[in-house]
Symmetry: C2
Subunit: 406 residues, 2 copies
Amino acid sequence: MALRVQKYGGTSVADIERINNVADRVQKAYDADDKIVVVLSAMSGVTDSLISLARQASKTPDKRELDVLLATGEQTTAALLAMILKSRGYKAKSFLGFQAGIHTDNSSGKARILDIDCKNIQLALKDGYIAVVAGFQGTDDDGDITTLGRGGSDTSAVAIASSLKADVCEIFTDVDGVYTTDPRICSNARKINKISYEEMLEMAILGAKVLQIRSVEFAKKFNVPLHVRSSFNEEEGTMVVNESSDMESVIVSGITCDMNEARITLKRVPDQPGVSAKIFTPLAQAEISVDMIIQNTRSGGETDLTFTVTKDDFERAKEISYKVAKQIGATEILTAEEIAKVSVIGLGMKSHSGVAATMFQALASENINIRLISTSEIRISCVILAKYAELAVRTLHTAFGLDQEQ
Amino acid sequence: MALRVQKYGGTSVADIERINNVADRVQKAYDADDKIVVVLSAMSGVTDSLISLARQASKTPDKRELDVLLATGEQTTAALLAMILKSRGYKAKSFLGFQAGIHTDNSSGKARILDIDCKNIQLALKDGYIAVVAGFQGTDDDGDITTLGRGGSDTSAVAIASSLKADVCEIFTDVDGVYTTDPRICSNARKINKISYEEMLEMAILGAKVLQIRSVEFAKKFNVPLHVRSSFNEEEGTMVVNESSDMESVIVSGITCDMNEARITLKRVPDQPGVSAKIFTPLAQAEISVDMIIQNTRSGGETDLTFTVTKDDFERAKEISYKVAKQIGATEILTAEEIAKVSVIGLGMKSHSGVAATMFQALASENINIRLISTSEIRISCVILAKYAELAVRTLHTAFGLDQEQ
């Protein structure tokens, strides 16, 4: 007998028919003598409708009350699935955040789970119930309802799986698993069978479509095996697990492409201690998160400093940069919005050399100029002009031997 | 400084514009230095939509889960009103059933409030907050969500008012108050300024449109002054209060008409001890509630026994009656669905004689035949043919001097 936590996303519970399909699958697992905890998202579109309702009520809806409102979405699907299972003769019971013992901090709208008191769920499982948990929600110290942010149901599921020491946490979604790259860009993209938490985190850009990144961090921290799979077929999806020795034989696991960044370069910054702090402190204070930071040496005690931010933060970052440039005496500011960051990711880089060279050669072979480079232990990223993004992804996918076998 | 509990019904919170109107009214009361607790229903139509969604999920939705689903309706309006008040710069906070300390028994769908632990609300009021409470819901001993049945938000409001020892519980609705009779039947119907709990209970049929009867029982028990008034204007409505000496000067307060009953007569029932029990025990076991019971004496050790049930229960009651009739040897069963029960209600009956005579004369003057009669201390009811219902109501309304002054 295994203990399985199954999480179903919004498209998997989009209407009564689909919730019935979810019930089929849950029923099958239960009949196979597994203990089942189901974690549900809101029906697809519902969270957005609720946010738009809130915006009609107030231009800047109070965060505490927005969470109370949003929590109704998952409450609805949990009640409906439990009803369906019961009408089929199964023992089932819904649990809201506060009933499931999901205790969070008080950051409305982006709360973090502090701990889980699973005793209600454990009792129900012991009594043979299928536990149906409303994802995305918890309560804080004051008993206020909180929500965990976009995709928070993934984190609910992983946290519950960790707390219950479940054998697996299955993330059911509308795609078959995690792919080597975005199949819409590269028709040769392949489903990955097994990937490490670390790679999955670096592949945030691919992963974000199927898994909330925070849930992967959580799974890594507590060593919860994740199985990302489709709720519309029976195929095996992608296992996200701890790094294992066999993984390093694959040098590169995936290629990502992020079109959502913009670049700011401060030219001729005086090369003095404390100058970087003068630039990045006001950005941090404005809650602008900076991705890449690259500093080139120039002659004459000056340097060029380049960084990237998300397009959402670009205008504000630019304003702040102009102010700072005046203060520190930088001569010029260059900006670029039409950029793409392509990355190759793989645990194998730790033990194999030459990955960077292969990447640069591949891009060069298509005459794609590299503007910026940054690296981590298992990732190399190059910023290029946005118009080359798709070509770069396909080229790299082939160069690293990731293309689907024909 | 007064402590006011204000309850707004579904039509008063039907959309964001109307919730804004509610906010206007709450704000005004708060600015007048009152402490305010607002209890809200779901937007009109929402509860019905949720029930229909549940029926799509299951023909007979599990009651526990139905309550979890239905509770989202009031959760939504409470969050929205709190948002609006906060965006206007007021301190406001929503409370769900479990946060408001509304503790009920475990009868899903028709739970009764056992007690209220108002400490969270009291703390909020002390800190200058407007407390916005989701009506209709509570939690039972197991921490399961329960709902209080149709119109349950009235009961929530009265219970909270009682627990907080509020100065008044204002029930805002889409009518101006309680009328002497249904204005759609009788254009001369008048708004009643002041009525006793007892009369209000007898006027259930009129009252049900504006007040859940259980809430009146609750108000009577704990002596909570109710003010039933319109949320669309500033007029005073109807005060529902303890009986006071000045009330008895009005002999009849209102006329009601109930078209929702049907009649069953068992002819020639053996007039023996225990026969009534044989008839009414199986009806009670089938959870059919019987309204009027009239037994006429016949000669020859036989009697006719007539009773009325709601039309919903009519078919089942008829079936049971036929079975019982065989067992006890009743010779014949007569039934009638096209009946109406008209009642005159008034505390004054306690001290004034002749009310029955006036009623019978008034009906006779219009050639309306009375089929059944039953009475309570402050009510006289006559069953007549349904086609005379409106005429009877208008005739009685005039006969007892209730017509509006022209």
